[in-house]
Symmetry: C2
Subunit: 410 residues, 2 copies
């Protein structure tokens, strides 16, 4: 039997999806599992997108242009213009989700064994995309105690080698919800220019920025025309993750021309996703406001509820639809597994994403979990109640260990 590849062996399991088999097993046994682990919103897909699919008026579902349908690219350029991002349709390559945009960028900008800097915790699949393109991720740690703000720029600088070719940021951030300030972004900009790096910014949560925080795209940082690559996706904005319609946006023509060769190899992005995406860009203000307010309400509820649970700490993030929370347990992954396997509260339990999966090189995040507030308040409330009750019952919570020790010493 031939051996599988080293990169295949090195490839991590998704920390977001790794507990799924335990959840499925619990469900088979009749337990009700509230899923707070994955960013799959329950918000209805934009009706413009659904209508475009149902009214699809073609006889043949053809390949599109490898760069994506020109009409979609033009519509996206208009969308960016409304958001004060000045790009032409030619700066936009349509991709199969934001995922493909990141892979294409890594292939185009980095050689095998090159290094890319990423503030951690980070969206775990960045590590997977890097593994599949033989790129090394070098993490710079940020911390829950200060709300995951940008680590000191010296921490980045210390890790720059002659292999360093770029930086990835996610803004608003998955998993932390942090929105980078102008000052933070200018620090990154200066670093990028000093070392002539590429800067990838994953801005798929652009529309979900709360408390009047200002959102700044890297496309609006001066001097980065040839360095900046905006990663985008329509999935989260219009609640249509299954469309797989994303984009790679850059003013660097050589980069685009090169990325297009990779695009040509896979022929074209999905046709129906593009048609639906183009329609979604016309979603009403009413829909966009509804989605925004729904996430805002949920964020407020989740942060408030979590912080009321004894021993739990959750900073209040300004964006996206995730929070990281620190739990009074030694190992949040073991606790998450225990909740699925051993625990229930009136027949229900909860699935969360263990925080450690969003960190790589450090031992950070072991006490943390990520929660996606993408389900309705009622389910969120039940999920968080399960979490609270589970922490009370968990024999290895820090509080319970101490009490057990006290009892033992008596």
């Amino acid at each position: 039997m031939p051996k599988i590849s080293k990169r295949g062996t090195l490839m991590p399991n998704s920390p977001i999806r790794k507990l799924v088999p335990l959840a499925e097993e619990a469900e088979r046994k009749g337990k009700n599992i509230i899923r707070l682990n994955i960013g799959q919103p329950d918000i209805p897909t934009s009706d413009k997108a659904l209508a475009a699919i149902r009214n699809l008026n073609v006889q043949v579902i053809e390949y599109s242009h490898s760069a994506g349908m020109e009409s979609l690219r033009r519509k996206m350029a208009e969308y960016y213009s409304r958001h004060k991002i000045d790009v032409s349709y030619e700066d936009i390559l349509i991709t199969t989700g934001g995922s493909e945009a990141i892979t294409l960028t890594l292939l185009t900008c980095l050689n095998a064994d090159d290094e890319i800097l990423v503030p951690e915790p980070f969206y775990a699949n960045y590590y997977s995309f890097a593994t599949s393109t033989d790129v090394k991720v070098v993490a710079i740690s940020s911390h829950i105690e200060d709300g995951f703000r940008l680590p000191p720029i010296e921490d980045f600088e210390k890790k720059i080698t002659d292999k360093t070719r770029g930086i990835i940021i996610c803004n608003p951030n998955n998993p932390t919800g942090h929105v980078y300030s102008r000052q933070e972004l200018e620090q990154i900009r200066d670093l990028v220019l000093k070392y002539d790096l590429f800067l990838l910014s994953d801005e798929v949560y652009r529309e979900f920025v709360y408390d009047d925080e200002e959102f700044i795209s890297i496309m609006n940082l001066e001097g980065l025309e040839n360095n900046a690559i905006l990663i985008d996706s329509l999935s989260k904005r219009y609640s249509a993750t299954g469309l797989r319609t994303g984009a790679l946006v850059t003013k660097n023509k050589q980069l685009r021309d090169t990325a297009l060769k990779f695009c040509q190899a896979r022929l074209s992005p999905p046709y129906v996703g593009q048609v639906a995406g183009e329609a979604a860009l016309d979603s009403s203000d009413q829909y966009m406001d509804y989605v925004f307010n729904e996430y805002l309400t949920r964020r407020n509820f989740v942060v408030e509820t979590l912080n009321k649970i004894p021993g739990v700490y959750c900073p209040k993030p300004k964006g996206a639809f995730y929070v990281m929370a620190k739990l009074p347990v030694d190992d949040a992954e073991k606790f998450a597994m225990w909740m699925l396997e051993e625990f229930d509260y009136n027949g229900s339990s909860v699935m969360v994403a263990p925080g450690a999966g969003f960190y790589t090189e450090s031992n950070l995040g072991k006490q943390e979990i990520r929660i996606a507030y993408v389900i309705n308040l009622e389910k969120l409330a039940l999920g968080l109640k399960c979490l609270e009750k589970a922490l009370e019952a968990y024999p290895y919570s820090i509080k319970n260990i101490k009490e057990n020790q006290k009892a033992f010493l008596k």
Copy 2:
């Protein structure tokens, strides 16, 4: 400005799409261009697929399972069973087109710098997928003179090194239309087992096999359970190339489990493509017969017409919807460009795919072109008439060069 990657620089332009700018320029000038270069059929998409899209009855377009929707995988297993290929739904991973299935297989089975053997001419994007995964393609030449049958197995054996990890075949073949015989496949099987290689077989044209030729899947070759990977796609079968719904099928569980990790990183294949693909698998016999007969008629017409053109040679392939033809010109790519830029026949001209783009390491194929018979007979006839007239008029055709030489010597 940071440099783009070496692999980006090495990445080839698609030979199928590289003349597109010349065609677009000709069209801007008012010329009618018949496109015989690309495998984009004009056959209507299966109405089952279109109906499923138009009747899409969901409120939220969600991620599917990373391995694809279980209902689609089960339906595909039934389809294979009808075609006497015995696989379970668990052996099937749904991919974003056949393209992604190949990339996933290369990532899973080969390390960077490993080698894969491919009989040439081959589907040019294999080279692109190999470049994007840092795999080296080693070509074994087949020849138009004997209808592109499998090269002697010694030719493969001579090129095997300690880096050789697999073989790719395409059956029925793109671009040659060749259908591998049982004897040929058993030779490959023995070689694969002797050197413990992976065998990828791209069988997306399975349904288009003519003249009662027998089609044999590698999944039915004994002893290859852990070596064989079937690459599939619904695009060509149901005339829905824009769906991007393909599959990686293997009985090797370790391979599947590893490939699934790469699948998890990109979250899921496109949802609507899966729904439409599942419905397409119920396409009526009437539709399948119509598509088959249409291609059969076109193949017969194209082969007969080409062989009537003085100096042109075209073997009669048994499968797929392509032919390779040898032209009486020194350089078919220059000729193809000339047809777009300089020539017209009553206001029309024709775009073909230069044959050299389907070969890599040899100087073969320079006189060859690939024609896709995916447009209706009327357009095919006009396209081939343009080709005939162009060969008469081309100053650098072998006949015309000889005549010019004679005239000069007189």
